[in-house]
Symmetry: C2
Subunit: 435 residues, 2 copies
């Protein structure tokens, strides 16, 4: 029988897992610093909760779960694996109308997509989201930007750029280029492809949407405004209609508040070309990339005031940010900065022979009781193999219990870094390890 | 559109989630104290990895995932959701023959079963496992018992009983009662039902398996030996054949080592009736219950030296313990001991008006920079509502920034517990919160 993982799935062996846990702990600390609270939602959702939220392509990528019992023979499904963490949040909000707002939650958890697996793209991967529901205040948008910036800094990334735009500006740009209401989204889709197909490709797309050459020219003159702060916003406004200028005013506030929140001026820029796909965004949108690494977006998000209302109850405004956990972990690993922290234990307690074994067991128990994480050597091998094990695990100390130590009720604690050793009671040894 | 969870799935709102995270952190700390390392495996596994491991009933409870593309129309499946954490561990061991042994890993993660949902039984629930692979040493079995005892103690449960038996003893008991090799498992299944169907029910089952009345009488005389330590083991041995006495000797060592490891004598007992279902166990088996609460098992496990070999490569012995995380969390909640710990933030920073808003933003940023978890009030409501919000969240402090504070670049820090307040720079306020 061939033994293997499911396609697009991964195991995380302890060393990798320790690094992942360290990254997740760092980002959790950032979220909690802002008062975001943990939310748990199930991996499995009713199919109708997920369909129609991610566009036709997204619907095709849902992993559907076969109904148990009769339906199973004909491929009937009533559940699917969650595709992201945002739609489940919207469902939670719709189901819990009494929840105290502003509701700030974070969730770091796996999602599943039936994509074709390839380098760096998996069918099961973690997302790392912080969202604020129940307020339209630009402070909430700014806080998401600040969380993204703090999260990247906390992981050691200082050279990043947050690009910022607003869906109302984008739609007004489309109108300024002559697109009717039914074509605004087509123009956005075309602009969103700029990174992939370049200026010529986008121009071709825009012709396909039905813009004339004059309109396309007007659109480029807006898209190619210099990226900056106030000056870019000032330059944008005259090209746009009322809704577009509302977007400019809102973005002005968001930008100012983000700077007040400590986002470094050099790390944030208004970019009229930023569209952020087809998603459910209604206001501000943003995306972060690393300046020195052409790996695409490492964080992104925006305001989505319409999503919760899709569940047919009251509309609840919301804004959020998602950090690209998998991509960030990969970058840290490739940069050799995957610090897995300390090994799980500090001390290996050796076992000399059958007769002294109970003494080794009691020594390990005493060390643990004193707060020292201790691995008791469980296999039946020579001391040399036990020392090798301790070295391979990166432990700092070995506690040796030979016949003499067993007789005297003490241990010989050897420091593996400098080779020094002391024979003393386990409780005293614990003090050396802990200090 | 009716909005709902999938059947048998749950959301964990922040307060519940904080408690779950606290319990998981406590158990993680216990595992790490013994040098167990974290392992991550995917939720999705190839179907053939899972089938044939859990018996026919288990196979029926697997959630199968529809294949993408063509196969989807006819209900073709090649993946399923993991059913437990043990079989995935066995797969990892089979796929990574170079892994350093003893390999000690823990995993706290959800599993999925297509059970009929009912009170306390869910289709998605967490398991919490620690396993040791690569050694047959009785120290490994004893360590699993010590981890279970320490885990329960760390959660505040002191009145528990660990019951202990060995599959070799059970099979020898069956043989002593006259069951041939093909009927040993039938006898085990009957014994396992004792809690549910009682003495009469088990006797009926044993007749069904084909034992005669003399054999059944012999079996009961063994099963009903007084539960204890050495005395029970001494009383067992004369009833058993060589394999059974091997089990007795092994259990004697495991018991002695568990006591050396600090498992309290009053908390552990040899119980000849403990069978632990139909699983893959080959040696020691154990189960813990809470003495004052008739809720069944809260931890269990045993030795399974044959499972890894089912993946067709080398056999690797293994032993493990699983703590009943969901049941333990439920008990803690019902006992009112669900300590969710501190709220996520310490301080609410209020916003007085539009003009002073930037000062509030900068105060929150300064508090966070000084290490104080601070929620900035993001909505546009009166101060009274903001104070109510801080109280509802359980924050200890409110940082008030009115026009005067904004002008002077200070904050007024009010202690919500005693009503005292001080007006001072944010950095100094942080010292008060942190001390």
């Amino acid at each position: 029988m061939a033994v293997n993982l499911a396609r697009g799935a991964r195991d995380f062996l302890p060393e990798t897992m320790r690094h992942r846990r360290a990254v997740i702990a760092t980002l959790t600390e950032v979220f909690e610093r802002y008062g975001f609270e943990p939310l748990g939602t199930p991996a499995i959702e009713r199919i109708e909760t997920l369909t129609g939220k991610y566009g036709d392509e997204g619907d095709k990528l849902l992993f559907r779960i076969l109904k148990r019992g009769k339906g199973s023979e004909v491929g009937e499904c009533d559940m699917a694996l969650r595709y992201d963490l945002t739609v489940p949040l919207a469902r939670v909000l719709a189901m819990n109308p009494g929840v105290r707002t502003p509701f700030k939650r974070f969730q770091i958890a796996p999602v599943w997509r039936a994509d074709r697996p390839q380098r760096g793209r998996f069918r099961e991967f973690f997302q790392c989201d912080a969202d604020i529901a129940g307020t339209t205040s630009p402070m909430a948008d700014a806080e998401c930007l600040a969380v993204a910036a703090d999260g990247l800094s906390a992981l050691g990334f200082d050279a990043f750029t947050l690009r910022l735009n607003d869906r109302r500006i984008l739609r007004a740009m489309a109108r300024a280029a002559g697109a009717g209401p039914d074509r605004e989204i087509g123009v956005l889709i075309a602009i969103d492809k700029l990174d992939k197909v370049g200026r010529e490709g986008v121009t071709e797309e825009l012709r396909g949407v039905g813009l004339d050459e004059a309109g396309i020219g007007r659109l480029w003159s807006i898209l190619e405004l210099e990226r900056g702060h106030e000056a870019t916003l000032d330059a944008l406004a005259p090209h746009l209609d009322d809704e577009g200028r509302q977007g400019v005013d809102s973005l002005r506030q968001v930008l100012g508040l983000a700077l007040d929140m400590g986002v470094p001026e050099a790390r944030i820029v208004v970019d009229p070309t930023l569209a952020r796909g087809l998603d459910y965004y209604t206001g501000a949108v943003y995306e972060a990339g690393l300046d020195d690494l052409p790996i695409g977006s490492v964080a992104g998000g925006g305001r989505y005031d319409g999503l919760v209302g899709m569940f047919g109850k009251q509309a609840i405004p919301a804004v959020g940010v998602s950090l690209g956990l998998e991509r960030l972990i990969t970058v840290l690993e490739e940069l050799g900065q995957a610090d897995a922290g300390q090994p799980t234990a500090d001390v290996l307690v050796t076992v000399f022979d059958e007769a002294s074994r109970p003494s080794s067991v009691r020594a390990a128990t005493a060390l643990r009781a004193a707060g020292v994480r201790s691995e008791l050597y469980l296999d039946d091998r020579k001391l040399k193999a036990q020392f090798k094990h301790a070295g391979a695990r990166g432990y700092r100390f070995v506690a040796i219990i030979g016949p003499d130590e067993a007789r005297d009720g003490v241990i010989t604690l050897r420091n593996l870094a400098d080779g020094t050793q002391h024979t003393l009671p386990a409780e005293d040894a614990a003090q050396i390890v802990l200090r």
